[in-house]
Symmetry: none
Subunit: 202 residues, 4 copies
Amino acid sequence: MPGTGTQKYEQQRQTAIRAAASVFAQKGFHGACTKDIAEQMGIKQGSLYYYFKSKEEALSEVCLYGIQDYVEHMASIADSEQSFEAKLIATVTSHLSSYRERNEALKVYNDERLYLPKIRRRRLKKLGSDYRQRLESIFEKGKESGAVRQSVDCHFAAQAVIGMCNAWGDLIVRDSDLDLFMVIQKCTDLLINGFIKKDLTR
Amino acid sequence: MPGTGTQKYEQQRQTAIRAAASVFAQKGFHGACTKDIAEQMGIKQGSLYYYFKSKEEALSEVCLYGIQDYVEHMASIADSEQSFEAKLIATVTSHLSSYRERNEALKVYNDERLYLPKIRRRRLKKLGSDYRQRLESIFEKGKESGAVRQSVDCHFAAQAVIGMCNAWGDLIVRDSDLDLFMVIQKCTDLLINGFIKKDLTR
Amino acid sequence: MPGTGTQKYEQQRQTAIRAAASVFAQKGFHGACTKDIAEQMGIKQGSLYYYFKSKEEALSEVCLYGIQDYVEHMASIADSEQSFEAKLIATVTSHLSSYRERNEALKVYNDERLYLPKIRRRRLKKLGSDYRQRLESIFEKGKESGAVRQSVDCHFAAQAVIGMCNAWGDLIVRDSDLDLFMVIQKCTDLLINGFIKKDLTR
Amino acid sequence: MPGTGTQKYEQQRQTAIRAAASVFAQKGFHGACTKDIAEQMGIKQGSLYYYFKSKEEALSEVCLYGIQDYVEHMASIADSEQSFEAKLIATVTSHLSSYRERNEALKVYNDERLYLPKIRRRRLKKLGSDYRQRLESIFEKGKESGAVRQSVDCHFAAQAVIGMCNAWGDLIVRDSDLDLFMVIQKCTDLLINGFIKKDLTR
DNA sequence: AATGAATGAGAGTTCATTCAT
DNA sequence: TATGAATGAACTCTCATTCAT
């Protein structure tokens, strides 16, 4: 409400969001304090409230920032005309890459969003379930096209992909030496082939 | 200071650990307060310190309680003489069942253990990597026996199994209506077969 | 909620209410700080919250304490079988004496109660209008008995008595040297006779 | 610093004073914030300091504005050549009308002036006691002329008139539907005649 | 074995005020 | 004449922790 959308204001607000993301990711929402966030961006504690009405709003903004364009990305993947396998690879790539780029914000979305009051969570919830549904529909089309086994439960499958990506995302954020592309490749391999060798001679 | 090992004392301490687990799981370590824990077990805030020297110690105990015998369980699985598939199923079953039994404690271990100071985390870390190593060795033996594809990275595989189990564990704890056995079955199916239909005619 | 109604607890709570009354009376609700209140009763700031859930609750309690038994007193005056004049004197005496006894609490009720949120004000409002209505009924009976002039508007009269008593109450609280009985006597004289000399010879 | 007497400046300063009066009246000095005042006059918080050196100065100006010409008005009443009754009516009329016109400023003077430091209060105090003394002298002349009963204490009487007017003033400000002229008439009737019926036949 | 009472440190938040622009 | 941005002090409130009883 304060800055009339000045350039400087919006710019600083972005800085604030990223600073908050970083601090929340490291210490958790309740473990973090606004002073840390302020210091991270080089202003004093009180000044933070020029950009956020409350610590909670900060969390809310961070979460939104964390998933927003990765949800959008999913939309374009789901709508594209590729094979199931290509879409799955694209999804995993997009999901895990987000962890490297948006870095801490996505982690915060995963780990801390539940601390937001229901009202604040609504928009996030919508985005989250959009994402899952789009992923589900990819699996459904995969079954139709014969690429995916008929016994696969699409809802379960979507959840599983998301779950695994998030688990690896955590590791990626925590250990910046991890080779992102290797993780992507191995994850998709697992999802596509499983671990077991198929006996193709019989 | 404590009633050194009275039966009642040890009994109450267990209650305290479970109460702490429940509260930490719901509100996170920093979001929870000792009063909540005390109330959960029907005593007053101050009395809690008869069972824990500090809130931190409570977290430590909860984490330990959360993984302890699920790690032990893994040991017996790894040492057993079963096929790779059987071991994998046993692992997933054990891991996910733990979430139902020990319930919140395991979730707390996963989500909150990082808030412990390093010294307190040592024992936990050891247990955790024991677990992962045993799981890795299962995969290695699987490769030797020809059950697992040669291209599989055992370290990655173990991490992936753990990650997926934890992701589902979270959902299991949050939604007590989820059918545990269905989840177990679908997870193992995914891990074994992947999602893709193999063309066995060629 | 904390003390189970222990004697010590209730006693300290009374001390707290009186301390709050004193501080609010002097600095106003918003101008006062909880530290002042705590210091006044010889405890530390944080400890105050053992007795009040919030500063607002403190104000609420002070207001209640301020009028409670002066409203009750009014009930017994209104129900008594005295002449109008006697009742009026009793009312003024009770009202102004309250300022000396309950001292600051009544002043706080008058000056600060409007800062309470509506929900908290309900009970107070009820008590306040009970008081006014009882006073009105005294005037009505006075008119019936012929003691009070027919042209007097009872609602207005009650309001006026209350207003004047409060105005003097303020002065009484501020200046402890003021002779209470003189004020009472002069107020009732004014209310009964007005300032004008009646020409009784015509 | 100020635009020393530009027309626009003086005009805006008046607006500022009235805005401050309005906000202080509603929320009290300590409960109000400079942002509220600024918003009320359609400027931004920081800009307020172009018109006031401090919040305290704002209060000071509001108080002055609140009583200034109502005190002057009293001077002309006291000096006029009317009967006691006429002067009393004029006083009450002037006092209560001020509440309608200057509205919140007078209320602020009454309720908040004590929060000013002594130095700032000096001028106000002088004006206030001028007012009371003039009113006292009206009563004294009333006694000399035989209009007022000899038993009346002039100091007390002045205080009582002021107190009652302020009490009603509060109600007038709070409830804008109140009929001002009715209140004036009933107040003067009370002050002149009291509530009691005089038995003129004996 | 448990509690009531207190504490002190620290948190989030508000706000009067300043100042370059 | 007015604003955007920032500050720092103060304030309310929470909470882990202690200890006499």
